[in-house]
Amino acid sequence: MKGDDGAAVNVWGELETLWEMVSDLPPAEREALLASHAVEGELRAELDSLLSRASAAEAFFDRLAAVVAEASHAAAFEGLQGDAAAVVQEDGSGSVDSDPLVGMTLGRYQIIERLGQGGMGVVYRALDLQLRRTVALKLLRARASNDARGKERLLAEARAAAALDHPNICTIYEIGETPEMGAFIAMGFYPGRTLAQALERGPLSLTTALDYVTQIARGLGAAHERGIIHRDVKPANVIVTADGVVKLLDFGIARMTDVDVSRDGVMPGTIAYMSPEQVTSRPLDQRTDLWSLGVVLYEMLAGERPFRGESAGAVLYAILEQPPPLVSTLRRDVPARIDAVVARLLATDPAHRYGSAEDVIAAVSSNRDEDGSPVLRAPALSKPHRPWARRTQYGVATLAVGAAIAIAIVSWPIVAKLARGNDQRTALASKEAVSPERTAAMDLYAQARREVLFRTDSGRRYARDLFQQAIAADSTFAAAHAGLALIALTPGDHSNRSIASAEASARTAVRLDSMSPEAHAALGRVLFSRYRLAEAEKHLKRAVELDGPQTDLREFLIWLYAFMDRRGEVLEQATLFERNKPGGAIAIAELARGLLVNGRCDEALAQLDRLKHLRPPPARAGNYAAQCYATRKQWPQAIDAMSRVAQTNEQANAYLGFMLARGGHTDSARVIRDRLLAQVSRGDGNAYGLAVVYAGLGDFDSAFEWFEKSYEDRSLRPDIMGPIFEDVRRDPRFEKLRAKLGIPNR
């Protein structure tokens, strides 16, 4: 009780006593008793006031109790179809309980109750009077009602979706149109709850989440096979039945009532599951569903959506520009491979996502790890959150492209909102957004980066063209210059001319943006090729530092240290790499290399074992495994591992020749030697490979002759410092090579 209300409290206490005394008495007796107790003044007035309305109050509360029953019914009902409550608020359609359609018969359907309301219309539980079954009846709020052809097209598409027969897809019984109902869809009615409701109570267990994501992916896979895209995968469209079976709702009909992202006042939740290509109104393919699946998986595990914001504009910005934190940072039981699955689903560029829902299922169900091996990174995915002060040109460019796309394709209001935000970043982004040159350059850059990922010669050539076009569009674009530098260093083309041009590009990149990690990485890589190892180290370290702990650029630094025979630092950096890229196949392979060069072959093989489920495994994993076996003089295993790599990797043939020779298969080794000799004389082999085979055959004279040549043609590889070449390095002639390279003997 309130202390500052002492008088009232006293009155209240007395009042209770008096009430007990007189409330049951007839008025006359009550009056007499109160008079005899000299109850008067304020206390008497209060008592009379309350007594006089006792019966009215009781009646009032009886009626109000009935309201409580109704409200509990309504509260229970609320959110039954996911975001019904939000939609009710949005369109102001008011109480969901006073729906005039309930009880009516439309066509052969008798409406029993309203289940909910979503962006696409109202859903009712209805009885199919003809077939005597319960259905969920969705009446579409067709925006295209004035456009008969458009509607026909949409209905045709929904009919295609209706042909889907899959346990994880909600069955569609009938799609049609009647004068009284308009367009409608009759579908299976599944007792259960939506995933949205399940998620209101917090995150799911890891097992449950992976089970659900697999089931959703199965449904999506079946649809994608028939060319049907869902377009609106979100928890409210996923029903989990009492038996734990997942049913995907609303297939292919999202388009029937497109949510207009450009409309001011769109609920932030409406676009939270949309892919970058969707919010920017770009062409969609099945991979848009995989993005949405990634958002759902993230939410199931983290209990929160990966892309959030107060307004639709803020959510849009997050989708385009702000990669969410790893799920494993939010809960401990999420293994690295699931982080990797989520990251791959949420790759901004659809090309970096899984190709199909089946791939997702495989990734989720196996304990394999992701291949996270981009030569150049996808900035939105792997770029760690950096303080804005350190985001310079490149960062602005990334922001700018998002904002520019938004301006060009989405619409003004959201961008205006974005720009009005008090966030310095958004303000800068909108200022930068007016440069169409930079936008075009960024697009070309992104495309080029994708080409590089294919690691083919034609891909590289195409990427080089794209980088050059990007530079033509915006000559101050540092990252594009850096990309050009790396392309120029293509293996097999280490002529002085291409190195010189690579160095020019890299130096331009650094000059344009001294804070660009890409620029420093490119320059470091070029200097590495020039055997200016100390300078290379400086720039590569700078690149890693600028890019943050999760950087892929660390790979360059690991190679450099391996080449410089700094084994401790190889392992140190490789350990950091793997720790910051949990589950990344390249990171795991590099960790194995770190262990291998330190002679810890058992541990290296244990790491590589984590990659054995990958199809195909990264080439270097097989290479390192073979080197581990070779170090242990287990030649058959080494040859087996290396011959697999050699099927797809020409360079591996040299190592295979080495291992065959050491394993006693001298004749086979000589065949390889002769092939390499022929290649070199044709001009498309390299000196290093030949040197390696000669070393394997014990012909050190020839080996060193070719090692000398490999110094010239820059084909010398860091593996030369690995344990399998120990006897090569014991030869006095190796000391000369070391001295030339400036690598001290340990």
């Binding site: 009430w19 109000l64 109790a65 509990s72 019914h73 229970a76 609320e78 006073s98």
Partner: protein, 221 residues
């Protein structure tokens, strides 16, 4: 004394309950058990956690029930609360006092759920520009069969505000109203839950109704 061992302090009356992080899946059950133990131990903070559990369970059951048997009659607050209790503690907990305490917390949770619902209903109407309702209009709506229309929602909101003021005068009386009204509990159940006599519950209930009736009338005008 009406203040039972775990209902001390103003924490009971906060309008928005603090968010409680729920561990997922299997740990949940053991969490529910341990929270109950903590409550028995008299930890006031445990009440917040317990409340959150009860609140969630109530919502879940309400929805499930709604799915199974749509119809007003199937959904009394009492049956909801009882089912929540059984779901949360099952046969593990037969202690009548635990059950009664649970019921009191469940009543508070029901209050928040229902008021939350009423608030959303009213907000959606106000958003479309409708005026608020007078006491007379509210009384008329209460007497009608119109379903859960907005004047009824406004009545619940007015009751909620008045209950807050009643709490300032007499926490015990406000608690009695919660149990009787939002928890659907009988006089005797309320008495056990709050650790007071049935006579006191009866008297408090009567006085509180009259007082609240007057307050709501003043509030709505």
């Amino acid at each position: 004394m009406y203040v039972h061992r775990w209902s001390q302090g103003p924490i009971l009356l906060t309008q928005t309950w603090p968010e409680v992080a729920h561990p997922a899946g299997a740990n949940r059950e053991s969490l529910e058990r341990s929270v109950l133990d903590e409550m028995r131990g008299g930890d006031p903070a445990a009440l917040g956690r317990f409340f959150s559990l009860v609140y969630d369970k109530l919502r879940e059951i309400a929805r499930a029930q709604r799915r199974r048997q749509p119809g007003f009659e199937s959904l009394t607050t009492t049956s909801l609360v009882h089912e929540a209790f059984i779901k949360l503690f099952g046969s593990e907990c037969r202690d009548f006092h635990d059950r009664a305490h649970f019921m009191a917390v469940a009543a508070m949770a029901m209050r928040q759920i229902l008021i939350g619902h009423a608030r959303r209903n009213a907000a959606s109407k106000r958003g479309s520009g409708a005026a608020t309702f007078s006491f007379e209009e509210v009384e008329r709506a209460l007497a009608s069969e119109a379903g859960f229309v907005t004047p009824k929602a406004e009545a619940l909101l007015a009751l909620d505000r008045a209950l807050d003021r009643l709490h300032d005068r007499s926490e015990r009386q406000s608690r009695v109203v919660e149990c009787r009204f939002f928890g659907g509990m009988s006089i005797d159940e309320t008495a056990t839950a709050l650790g007071i006599s049935s006579a006191t519950v009866k008297r408090d209930w009567a006085i509180a109704q009259a007082w609240l009736h007057r307050e709501i009338q003043r509030d709505l005008g």
